[in-house]
Symmetry: C3
Subunit: 205 residues, 3 copies
């Protein structure tokens, strides 16, 4: 049984995109832990994001020009959009740290970033397994992504509580609140990716 | 004339979900009015949200495994997603009140919560009428939901204006602004539900 | 070769909606530059938004009642929704200026508003060319919208950086940050419109 027979190269591109997400998340963890030269580090992540943008554009063009059923197209389109969102948000986090001229990391932001890196790695594995038509493993990885999203969600609410408990400078609160929200959004979009992967497997496997 | 003949049990699940939304909204009004033990009250709403999560997961699985036309699937999928958003946002409001350790309610937040409860009750009726194939009533209730969304929208902008007029502590402004935004979002997602219900009726009735 | 033969009047409505977006954006530039009587000016933009709401409602009803393929419907539905978002956001910007009782403009907000007006004008041209089946020009305009979105995005990050560099009052930061975010969102939704227009052209031209 073949899945999307004519569009197997789509999964090549998704593989590259999810590898890019892993790279960007890994650079974000470095930035969060080392917290020096934040502008240069944000620029590096921006380059990965730009690279992914071209992959997304490529996949959208192929999707629009390839004959596939509406329902396949819709799934692949959503998959590409949500992956694009994840990398955009990872870049937004790095960018805000530079734009806000933040000088010191927050333990909670490091933890959230690490959990997002783990999520990205599992997502990359899930995409690879889908490409290899190893559907049982796709589902396992998707469950793990959902579990990780719960972890990030709890981490986000802890971070928010601690931010308002410990920090008294409202401007610093505004800055970190936005960063935490982008991290939480990135994790939510990873969960969306997992849900789409699960839907694809349920429909076609 | 039958609507979604093979998937009539979908509407059973939507009925349960919209009942859950009503329950959660009712608990939120209690929390807003009484404003004691906010953490325990938020936890109760969280349990309703968790319960709904399982219903949503169940419906998504059934949608992916059932043979239905892409367009029906798309509508039912959107319906489940938007209802899930509503209950998530109601929980988020309750959760923020606890996380932000707010000690006193805001009159405007009570009013917005009550309007959302009314919206939820009308939404529940609309779903019931759809299940019973009483399409004229579905449309009536949808118009009422749209009207209520306008009320919440005006309430939101009043609340925002009053917040910046009356409160001088920027941290308190940040906290309540987020709560008002989540309430407004919950109301917007209810309007999305009404629009999807209307679309279903227009297409199939 | 005909595009959406039976629904050619859809593009009449899109033409009117995109003209409305241009009008609203133009009024927003006036508000930002002159910055007097902000409440009355916001009300004028609200009237344009209300007018567009009726157009959107009309198109949604026609979409649901017209027999078209799911994939066409999906594209037209998205187009109408994203255009509706653009005008909602332009109105939200004007409304916040009034609700927040802001007394002085920000140079960066004027610049972002002007770029959004330019985007709206190009978008209107793109919709006109689609109506005329002049597909090559549609694509050209879409590329220009994407370029403008990059400009607004850079403008947004500059504005954010300058806001935190120059303004010391946290409440003023909260207010302008929200306005900048709505402007950036409006630009993002214009990019969505461009992407949908491009997809339509690629699929059917």
């Amino acid at each position: 049984m073949r899945l999307f027979p004519k569009e197997i190269d789509f999964f090549e591109i998704f593989d590259k995109t999810s590898l890019n997400i892993t790279k960007a998340a890994s650079r974000l963890v470095d930035l969060m832990e080392i917290f020096d030269d934040t502008e240069a580090r944000a620029k590096e992540i921006h380059e990965i994001e730009q690279d992914s943008d071209m992959l997304t554009h490529d996949i959208m063009k192929k999707l629009n020009k390839t004959f596939i059923t509406p329902i396949d197209r819709e799934d692949l389109y959503s998959l590409a959009s949500r992956m694009d969102d994840v990398i955009d948000l990872i870049w937004a986090v790095a960018d805000r740290i530079a734009v806000f001229k933040l000088k010191e990391p927050m333990r909670e932001a490091i933890k959230m970033s690490k959990d997002i890196l783990t999520t990205a790695e599992v997502m990359h594995k899930a995409v690879k397994k889908l490409k290899e038509k190893n559907y049982a493993h796709v589902q396992e990885y998707c469950i793990e992504i959902n579990r990780l999203e719960n972890t990030v969600d709890r981490g986000f609410r802890d971070a928010l509580g601690k931010l308002f408990d410990d920090v008294k400078d409202p401007i610093l609160i505004i800055k970190w609140k936005e960063i935490y929200e982008h991290l939480e959004d990135a994790s939510d979009r990873c969960e969306d990716v997992a849900n789409i992967l699960e839907a694809i497997v349920l429909k076609y496997a």
